[in-house]
């Protein structure tokens, strides 16, 4: 097991396109780190550079104390689970899992023990003689995991390993992966575009956008204190409400309301961020009121979403489903000021 460090890492392509810009990221030993972002944000490239499948254009990557820039993939002692699983189609499940050990000249008896051990953990005992094409998607995915486990590598790299599974299996596998991480006590680096996977699995989450790391923090911190508008908007569903405001002193004025901020943010124009669940129909002490005209109501049993306008701005509110609302109503919402966000219009950084 080992830690991983990206120090000022760049990835440029010959055409001038930059996939990763000045990435600095320290991943602790035995940590479950999730790299998350939309497609093309550089998260996969960052992972592939660590795996040794892409060259590092600038900067250095360390696994443990070793700088691995010039180390070929096969000597980095990492294991990777691919989105396509990349199982060797002509080999049985057993041989798929044993391949990495064979390449490292592990004695036969040891290979057998390790493969049997891993197949027991993953429930693949009965499929060892089958070929990948005779397995279901979920089983293939487990074989891909098994191939990584038997190697007992320094770092596990997982590149969107759940995206080819159906929804139910995905949830199941997500939970199993977390258990596996605990049992193996290994360093996991997990790439996904799915914020739910990121929030549920990561010890820490690294949010990336256009090759630039936006924020690294625990899921709770990412959700509660997003560093900028991008992170605030990317994590959370439905999305955080963004309302343009003009600020003078401690007063923030939007098109439909004005609020007293707890302190003067020192900017003139800003964007206020309120998560849909941070507004309530129940009056609370110290919660200022805003008025929303309701355009669409969605009741989902456990939740009720209101879509509408506050002044000239679109907002979404998430309320108790017992609260009766009809389209066209004007609803008084009370804003939880402790969970209010304010961003600078220019830099998009959080200022409050």
């Amino acid at each position: 097991m080992a830690s991983v460090a990206y120090n000022h890492v760049f990835k440029n392509y010959g055409t001038g396109a930059v996939a990763v810009k000045d990435l600095n990221l320290q991943i602790l030993d035995t940590e479950f780190m999730v790299l998350v972002g939309p497609s093309g944000c550089g998260k996969s490239t960052a992972l592939r550079m660590l795996a040794g499948l892409e060259e590092i254009s600038d900067g250095e990557i360390k696994i443990g104390d070793r700088i691995v820039n010039e180390v070929p993939a096969r000597e980095r002692d990492i294991a990777m689970v691919f989105q396509s699983y990349a199982l060797y189609p002509h080999m049985s499940v057993y041989d798929n899992m044993a391949f990495g050990l064979k390449m490292r000249r592990t004695p036969k008896s040891e290979i057998e023990t390790k493969v049997n051990e891993a197949s027991k953990i993953l429930g693949l005992d009965n499929f060892l003689k089958r070929k990948p094409r005779q397995l279901s998607g979920g089983q293939r995915q487990r074989v891909a995991l098994g191939r990584a486990i038997v190697r007992n590598p320094q770092v596990f790299l997982l590149d969107e390993p759940l995206s080819n599974l159906d929804a139910q299996l995905r949830v199941e596998t997500r939970i199993n992966l977390q258990k596996l991480h605990k049992d193996l006590d290994a360093t996991f680096i997990y790439v996904t575009h799915d914020q739910v996977e990121a929030m549920t699995m990561g010890d820490r989450i690294a949010v990336m956008k256009e090759g630039v790391l936006q924020q690294v923090a625990s899921p709770r911190e990412i959700y509660d204190d997003p560093a900028n508008m991008y992170v605030a908007g990317f994590i959370g569903s439905p999305k955080m409400n963004f309302i343009p405001v003009t600020v003078s002193g401690k007063t923030a004025k939007a098109s439909g309301f004005s609020l007293e901020l707890p302190k003067a943010p020192g900017i003139e124009k800003g964007v206020m961020g309120i998560r849909p669940e941070d507004m309530t129909e129940v009056p609370h002490e110290g919660f200022p009121q805003i008025e929303m005209s309701v355009e669409v109501v969605e009741v989902l049993g456990s939740d009720q979403f209101l879509y509408g306008k506050c002044g000239g701005d679109d907002i979404i509110a998430r309320l108790d489903p017992q609260f009766k609302v009809a389209v066209g109503d004007k609803v008084r919402l009370h804003v939880n000021m402790r969970r209010l966000h304010l961003f600078d219009v220019g830099t998009e950084r959080a200022v409050l």
Binding site: L53, A73, M80, Y88, G100, R147
Partner: protein, 297 residues
């Protein structure tokens, strides 16, 4: 469900067949029969001739089915040592050239398909250009070269020459095959600790088997039936390949002024059999290989 099917039965039963469709069908099968006849007629004619006594072959009216059935031509063929020796020679040369062509062709085309190196495209187009040369245009040059390296009138000469002409085709078929394979598999192998050569040999080669089989069959067939180079580079009858041996059948006999059609046709059919066997045998492999699929999620 059962109601729906019950309701649809009379519909399908009574649907009238359109006359236009019938005509189309008939024309289609007529064409199939025509093409089959065109392809199979020479085989039929060779077979007919091989089972007739020599005296019947030239008879008019033409016998479409041998009246005096005989297997004498086959007995002649198998008692001719030159012919038997030629089968061995052809097998040796064909298998050697094919195996070498598969080995060199696969590794060259893998490199051309996957690695970026200086002059890759130049190499690729040179190889393609090679396959456009008609053999006869470099016959003289090849003769001189083989003479210089003392390979003239040896079987090595044919192996080398056949390799030269089969490699371009092999490389072109295989490099497009390798290009179509998912990169993930190789990357998984690298991460698993395999070297580039191990990845090629243990992962890519088995997966390329269908393509290799196709290209290999083409190469083998080409070698088996090649006449021009064999005629030009093999002097002694102990080095003859099958086409040479067939062409020379009866040349030394008293009946040198008469072409021994019966013997030749019998020999032709005999040498076709292994080829047909190989194709049928490997064709199964090819089809099963292509439908297997590599990394479907």
């Amino acid at each position: 469900m059962s109601v729906a099917t019950a309701g649809s039965i009379p519909q399908t039963r009574r649907r009238p067949v359109k006359p236009g469709k019938v005509v189309g069908r008939v024309l289609f099968y007529l064409l199939v029969v025509l093409i089959l006849a065109y392809i199979l007629f020479p085989f039929y004619w060779a077979a007919r001739t091989s089972f007739m006594p020599d005296s019947d072959i030239y008879l008019t009216p033409v016998q479409y089915w041998p009246k005096n059935f005989t297997v004498q031509h086959y007995i002649n063929a198998f008692s001719e040592t030159t012919f038997l020796r030629a089968i061995l020679n052809s097998a040796l040369v064909g298998v050697a050239a094919t195996v070498l062509s598969v080995l060199f062709g696969a590794s060259a085309s893998y490199a051309l398909a996957r690695f970026n190196f200086l002059g890759r495209n130049v190499a690729l187009y040179l190889i393609l250009a090679m396959s456009m040369f008609p053999g006869i245009s470099i016959l003289g040059a090849l003769y001189t070269v083989l003479q210089k390296v003392h390979l003239y009138n040896t079987l090595y000469a044919l192996i080398i020459v056949y390799l030269t002409f089969s490699l371009p085709l092999m490389v072109w078929i295989m490099q497009s095959f390798f290009r179509g394979m998912p990169r993930d598999l190789e990357e998984a192998a690298y991460v698993d600790g395999a070297s580039q050569f191990q990845t090629f040999w243990r992962i890519m080669m088995p997966l390329a088997a269908p393509g290799l089989a196709t290209a290999g069959i083409l190469t083998l067939m080409g070698c088996w039936q090649e006449f021009l180079f064999a005629l030009s580079f093999e002097l002694s009858s102990s080095h003859w390949t099958v086409p040479l041996a067939i062409a020379n059948t009866g040349a030394n006999q008293a009946s040198a002024f008469q072409i021994p059609w019966g013997d030749q046709m019998a020999e032709t059919l005999v040498v076709m059999l292994p080829l047909i066997a190989v194709v049928l045998l490997l064709q199964r492999r090819i089809i099963s290989g292509l439908t297997a699929g590599a990394v479907k999620g």
